[in-house]
Symmetry: C2
Subunit: 241 residues, 2 copies
Amino acid sequence: MIDTPRLMKKASGVALPPGFRSTFFEGLTAPEIKAVLAAARQERISPHQLLQQEGDPATRLWLLVTGRATAYRLERGGRKLFLRWGVPGDTFGLATILREPARYLVTVESAQEGAILAWDLPSCRALVLQYPSLCKAVNSVVANYLDGLIDALGASSFRTAEQRLARMLFVSARQIGRTGREGVELDLTNEELAMTAHVSVFTASRKLSKWQDLGILKKHRGKIVLRSLSLFEAITNVTWR
Amino acid sequence: MIDTPRLMKKASGVALPPGFRSTFFEGLTAPEIKAVLAAARQERISPHQLLQQEGDPATRLWLLVTGRATAYRLERGGRKLFLRWGVPGDTFGLATILREPARYLVTVESAQEGAILAWDLPSCRALVLQYPSLCKAVNSVVANYLDGLIDALGASSFRTAEQRLARMLFVSARQIGRTGREGVELDLTNEELAMTAHVSVFTASRKLSKWQDLGILKKHRGKIVLRSLSLFEAITNVTWR
DNA sequence: CGACTGATTGACTGCCCTCAAATAGGGTGG
DNA sequence: CCACCCTATTTGAGGGCAGTCAATCAGTCG
């Protein structure tokens, strides 16, 4: 969809897609951004690649440029606890900048072809020393993650499977949805959606069918088209009186 | 239990309980800690006092010195989503140090008499400018919160009411438990415990009774005595195959 | 046209929440 | 010291949401 930047070994001029934005850069001045970008290394990623693994020593900070990723934690029994989508502009490996010998808190796996910008440990150290506001940028990103997590916890604790599903459709639409002519298109299988909403595949299928019958979405294999976003928002909010 | 520090209007010498430790101070040098403490203001708190409210402008950073607090978020319908205990050494209002016009993410309510150290917005700004490592300290604390939240989300998503209860008893024991002669004593009503484990009061009562029959805890009104901590840890881990 | 993977549907089960009502602890005032 | 009250806790009955299991159906790709 967007001309993907080419691989570059050394970062003299990192190519970013036009209109690229990242919350990580907010709060940084233009020259700071420039300096930070100059220290970055760009890499291509392929689907099902483990970008970082929980428990591993945090040796690099990185930022998703194009593609999609999934952040999750492995629970006892091998189940994956979905935490959030990684979309262009999202930053991970933030632990690298925290206390020096840190470990990744979560596992991040790419879901598509794409590209990332990465900073290794020495670069991070140097950058933080030179630009203290970087620390604030990290803070800001982490705060966003916190907020999202609290929301997810609330959903998981107080809401029904139907509400959790509707919520996930809603937030996924904003994050990984493409606006097509029939509505917002989501490249998600039932299984993926079920996992993100912490619901069984069967209830996911049932609820989706119900919503299709109501005409507020359309299902295809591995793809969901939402006709009306606001209805899903309503579903998640209503019902708790 | 510990001689509580007296109220001081100006912070010339802030009185901390002997042996007081805070993760917030880790990563700071001794002179830094001294400077930070010098800028603090000490206040007494009483039970059921709202130390901060979600959505309010974040105007102060503070640290619990003595007492106990509850961090939660208010959900639609007025239900409280319990997030974590606040115990001596815990820091809150970290948003104050992030992007300048910030708002509190969560509500924190005191549960006992106690004392806090507080820094107002100008102090925070000044301190962060002078000691960049403060930013790292904040980062570190937030990372801990993140980790705890992910854990809670996992519990809420994948575990049974019994496992969530056992988990909460276990973590509460470490955080707010006193070691008595019969085991670890927890000052918790069934209702409080139920709320923190995201379980109904009734299932809480039933499970507690069951565990009392098994002899691994003893119930009193508003108080629980755990005879064996490790058993509870086992309960939370077992069962997932 | 197979083969494989994703999606569906129905039947069954069980955890845990809701509601109603009774019981007990602990402090207070007479 | 006892009667009383308020609140915490208990107990049982009932029901619903949603998960598991099994089997079938449907799309896609080779």
